[in-house]
Symmetry: C3
Subunit: 310 residues, 3 copies
């Protein structure tokens, strides 16, 4: 089998094609069989987790993935990351990790940080989220979740809801969908938080039907996959503006009354209050299953990049 991930950096979901992702998904299916086993696939490898921006969920799932595969894990986060960032330039930090580890997982708030790191490091760099657009491993998990729930990613109607302007998970998911053949994508956000021009341009180029909307209600009955993300108050210059819109982007049992029975709700988590807790009990809630795929998808990815077998 050709391994399109071997030795590669993972900067954007758009670095890969559908075929590559299908290989990843097959590996993920296999990884799920080993969730109670200590493997030796990556024994002798060191994975460095450099979380300049905190994300416990992403960090821990990479850590579990690497350890389940037999790799050793080092890294920093939180206060320590801040002091590393203050103490030296990113290039020198990456050189350090490059000399200690066989693979670097990087999270950073600056656009392009992962690409920059990949140019410096000899070892592969995996982007665990940088800037406003790219969080490719989250998109891999999201796409894998859809594929597992619906047995296909093609031909479904999607709605991506929330902050489409600054939310990297939402943007990466949309980018990921462009590698497949969705029937239609609704981009649902407050006018201030519309998807960026380059995202729309990518959708157009790939010939994917999409529509921008400000509300969910009118389209809820058409949707197969509802991808929800957080809207941060801080994005609004006027707090009153936020209070006015936030209700419209909250998923409630009431809103779901008109949904298809097969509708599934995804969310990259953590959520604040954009999904009502009562929704958890419905058959639509798929975000906890989705979260549980974080480890096996990352196991598959690390294995493929470092040339292991599952």
């Amino acid at each position: 089998m050709h391994n399109p991930f071997l030795g590669k950096d993972v900067i954007s979901i758009l670095d890969f094609d559908r075929k590559a992702l299908e290989i990843l998904f097959e590996y993920t299916d296999r990884a799920r069989r080993y969730l109670n086993t200590k493997l030796r696939v990556l024994e002798g490898k060191v994975v460095a987790l450099a979380f300049f921006e905190p994300s416990t969920r992403t960090r821990l799932s990479f850590e579990v993935a690497a350890k389940r595969l037999g790799a050793d894990v080092i890294g920093f986060t939180g206060e320590e990351a801040i002091s590393v960032a203050k103490g030296e330039n990113l290039a020198d930090t990456i050189r350090m990790l490059n000399s200690y580890a066989n693979l670097i997982v990087l999270r950073h708030r600056f656009e392009g940080a992962a690409k920059f790191a990949a140019e410096i490091a000899d070892v592969p760099v995996v982007n665990a989220g940088d800037g406003k657009q790219h969080h490719p491993t989250q998109a891999m998990i999201d796409l894998y979740t859809v594929r597992t729930l619906f047995e296909t990613i093609d031909g479904l109607t999607y709605a991506v809801v929330g902050d489409l302007r600054y939310g990297r998970a939402a943007t990466s998911f949309i980018y990921g969908l462009t590698l497949f053949k969705p029937r239609k994508i609704y981009l649902i956000s407050p006018p201030l938080l519309r998807a960026r021009p380059e995202v729309l341009e990518t959708l157009r180029m790939k010939g994917i039907p999409f529509e921008e909307r400000s509300g969910i209600e009118d389209v809820i009955s058409e949707i197969d996959v509802l991808y929800v993300t957080r809207i941060q108050k801080e994005r609004f210059p006027d707090p009153m503006e936020y209070e006015k819109v936030k209700g419209s982007y909250r998923i409630t049992v009431d809103l779901l009354r008109n949904a298809k029975p097969e509708l599934k709700i995804l969310h990259p988590l953590p959520r604040v209050d954009e999904i009502d807790f009562r929704v958890d009990e419905t058959k639509h809630a798929a975000y906890f299953i989705q979260a549980s795929y974080g480890v096996p998808v990352r196991m598959a990815l690390l294995t493929l990049i470092l040339g292991g077998e599952l």
Copy 2:
């Protein structure tokens, strides 16, 4: 052998009986033989340490215990724990850990946090201290220490000294003693920091002789086990009040002049100044031995819960 810990949550020491603890103690005896060995008992298991409230001592001893048994360990503490707590509700955090790990160790300042977590998680939850009453693994260590030093827990006279109102280690130790047959327990504290009514009620129900006291001096000559805990200045509305009482709860060589030769002093550590350093040199000081049992007791407990053999 029946394993009363198999798959169980550990929320309070009162969840177990004397027989269960005796099995734990036997396992601890065995674990102590392996303190220089990497075991494979829990290989393939992941233990999550979620320390919403910091405690380096407890965290590290759980970590060493899990690693010595071959488990992988993930987790968070300090600043990261604070930002996790801010970022999402506890239920969602527990669901995340539940999907990554085979066992969750939780420390939290809120009463009932461990029980709440146990209701949400499918995997076992071990309370590493929550609220004001429960720190069951500390009580297990303390009881094991007594058993090792005296070859019995029954028939001894105990004094539990310090903050009996808010101190969870002291309260858990008292609860633990009610599973055995102590000759008598002196509860020694400033009037403001007396043991809670439910603690006294438990003692009465189990028919254990006890007496509340404000000073140690009068009873020091009767005591076999002196369990000392810290009194925090912050508990006193008036700082002068604190200054007035603190001397009376300080263990000094002088105070010990009237002690039985076999008296042993325990302390859950860290201590500030409630035990004078000169006491360390006396044959009464047992708190460092006690601390050293933190790892083997927790090894035994993790092994039993996860169905391993030692």
Copy 3:
């Protein structure tokens, strides 16, 4: 082979002699062959990293070294270290680590902290930097780098540049050189930051030719090894004073025009701006190679102390 490190504490580079270091260097050569292998040399051992003062670079390289050798690693740093330090006295913390681990790596800002810890602990203590003078494992890395680049440490002309008064890496390197036969050492610093009297005294006692200087330019053409360290603004009572001198201690391509072709530049890293980035491209830059020896030197040291074989 006699192992002069077996069971020993490592407090100062002066605790060892040339012969001991040569054994360490041979072990380091061997360790470099295993940088992609998980060894079992220290399986069953636990290494505690107690970083009361942050240093991600040193911490991570100890961590990788220990893990590559099969040891388990525990520890604390950053905020957690601060709260440990506030919560109890250093002696009790060391006793705790002593009961959990087979070796303690300690970093602390107080002079003599490592020696103090070594007196309390039964297990070996490795000083990962304390106070203003001692950072012995950094000196080992630096000396190993010189030996690897020049095939000898003897007979070369050295310049040690920067803060020689408070900089523990520079001081430890000078101490390390006194175990060999350098042709000459230039000590180059602003007058305020001259080497301490005890350093000069050691040089004199060992009969090593040295000269104190305030500038690099005049001697650059004589030097084989240029050891550069940071000068912190905070050292100067008058910030203007700092601005005046800092340029003179900055290594630029321009300055290197008069250097020998074989000149190599070392730096313990992280650097701020004391070495211009354009110098990185020159054949003189050896600081990244030097950094990459952090792991194998520490692997060799841990192996020797704990009685393993490589």
